[in-house]
Symmetry: C2
Subunit: 303 residues, 2 copies
């Protein structure tokens, strides 16, 4: 376990090498530390390393507004790192929030990381946020073939007291983080979570990281439904933003009612989606400490 303050300090020092200003560095660190606190380490500190080692980050780039009309604004990432582009677009839109609703479309906006982070920020301003985005193709057709679609999550956040309600569903049967982990360990993936180009069978994770094999959509015997949802996200984002590059789409809307309490009562003692991550973060904050992978911590603190 590492003290959260220490984690933030060393993550900030490392991320500072990307050449971004202090505020934007802090934003990145907040995104990734928040994922780590929620137990989603594949969106956590590991991404700081990934950015430092492989991404080209242009510190001078900012998203650019392309088009604006009734209830609609279209932006382009314009070379800005996706995390920062989507954050800045939301900040600028929320400076003049919609009285009713507004659809935001961001082309060339990648990577965006964990969508719940953005949706939660919007919900803290009193608006409902529905967020979706495309990313690198990982999901294959249930009948086999190469990866065709990103894990294409759909995320909804509603304002709440003391905290927003955030629900985030990705369409993959496993996360790409699971694949990377298996690849690093030299282990095959469990049967039935991936498909080779010819369909079925156990897949070497290296085939997936190389882009030759794909993860199955979630759904078990009804994986065609998970595939249809991932395709829906891909079609929506591409139709609104263009087919070139990855895109994010955000719907902002003014709520008229507070349905969470009533639905929580109906669900009773059963698991309410989103509570796992929220509770893990609360526990980490209460303890002031977070579990960080030893290898990543070593990378953060040395060299």
């Amino acid at each position: 376990m590492v003290a959260i303050d220490d984690a933030r300090t060393v993550m900030t020092a490392r991320a500072a090498r990307l050449g971004l200003d202090g505020a934007r560095t802090a934003l990145l660190v907040d995104h990734m530390l928040d994922a780590e606190l929620r137990g989603l380490s594949s969106h956590g500190v590991e991404r700081v390393r990934w950015l430092c080692e492989t991404a080209r980050v242009d510190p001078s780039a900012h998203p650019r507004e392309l088009d604006r009309s009734d209830g609609y604004a279209r932006w382009d990432g314009d070379g800005c790192l996706g995390y920062l582009a989507l954050s800045e677009i939301l900040d600028r839109e929320l400076a003049d929030p919609p009285a009713g609703a507004r659809l935001l479309v961001a082309s060339h906006c990648f990577p965006t990381g964990r969508l719940g982070w953005y949706a939660e920020r919007v919900a803290r301003t009193g608006l409902v946020a529905l967020v979706t985005a495309t990313s690198t193709a990982r999901i294959a057709h249930p009948a086999g073939g190469p990866p065709l679609l990103g894990t294409n999550p759909i995320c909804l956040a509603l304002p709440g007291d003391p905290e927003p309600t955030v629900i985030d569903v990705s369409m993959g049967r496993v996360t790409y983080g699971d694949v990377l982990q298996a690849a690093a360990a030299g282990e095959p993936l469990p049967e039935g979570v991936s498909v080779s180009a010819n369909g079925g069978g156990q897949t070497d994770p290296a085939e997936i990281t190389a882009g030759r094999a794909g993860i199955l959509p979630f759904g078990g015997g009804q994986a065609h439904k998970g595939f249809a949802l991932a395709l829906m996200v891909e079609l929506l984002c591409s139709a609104l933003a263009g087919t070139d590059g990855h895109a994010a789409v955000v719907l902002l809307a003014r709520p008229r009612a507070e349905p969470v309490a009533g639905l929580r009562e109906l669900v009773g003692g059963r698991r309410f989606p989103g509570d796992g991550g929220r509770d893990r973060r609360a526990a980490a904050n209460a303890a002031g400490a977070v579990e960080i992978d030893a290898g990543i911590w070593k990378w953060l603190t040395t060299g």
Copy 2:
């Protein structure tokens, strides 16, 4: 097999008894016949009978506009049958379509039937339509308990030539039509598609039709994802429309690109979501004939 023209004639004669004017009767018949042509008989002629036998239809009711602002319009069904309310709301909004996007919220809007029917109509005008709606609670928590959520489908339609692309995913593992059929035949549902109030086990369909047991969300071992999606729809609709009654939410947006052809090429010879219903309808139209359940046909043509 019945000639499509004959089916339309007898459905219209029957539905006319609801007391609606000719245009609205034709709209209802078109919705239900379209479902029948697509092989979705649970949204088909059966619903004409259901309306005639159990629904209170107020022929004078029309949806009422409650609120309008930037990119946003909120309506109430106001006692109007959901099918007709949502159709009329869309017709009135499309008479002055958005240059960018518009979010439509319809409270007290039930039943709305097959959402693809509305989304396809919107897409024929050149807009993208994302449609969702709540309905009678059928889906239970994967851990058991009473039905909590509607099957809460999400539907996307994109303009296309010669036809729009329509993808429609409902969050239930089985349809309520399957449940009604099993109940009528006195057969239990297959294991693992439903949950008793205490979780697990085989459920008597009569328990579901009585509202005491529920259908599982789709997802197999990841039914929590299907549940989360159904909950997302419930929260979105209720937050925007109010927690009282069922609601529909429609996002209209102007597309900037045509992504379907490229994605079809990627999917190749594998099944493309939505094509099954589209092809069945095309085949029925080509043959000029549709398969209609003998019992329903007898009801339509006698008495």
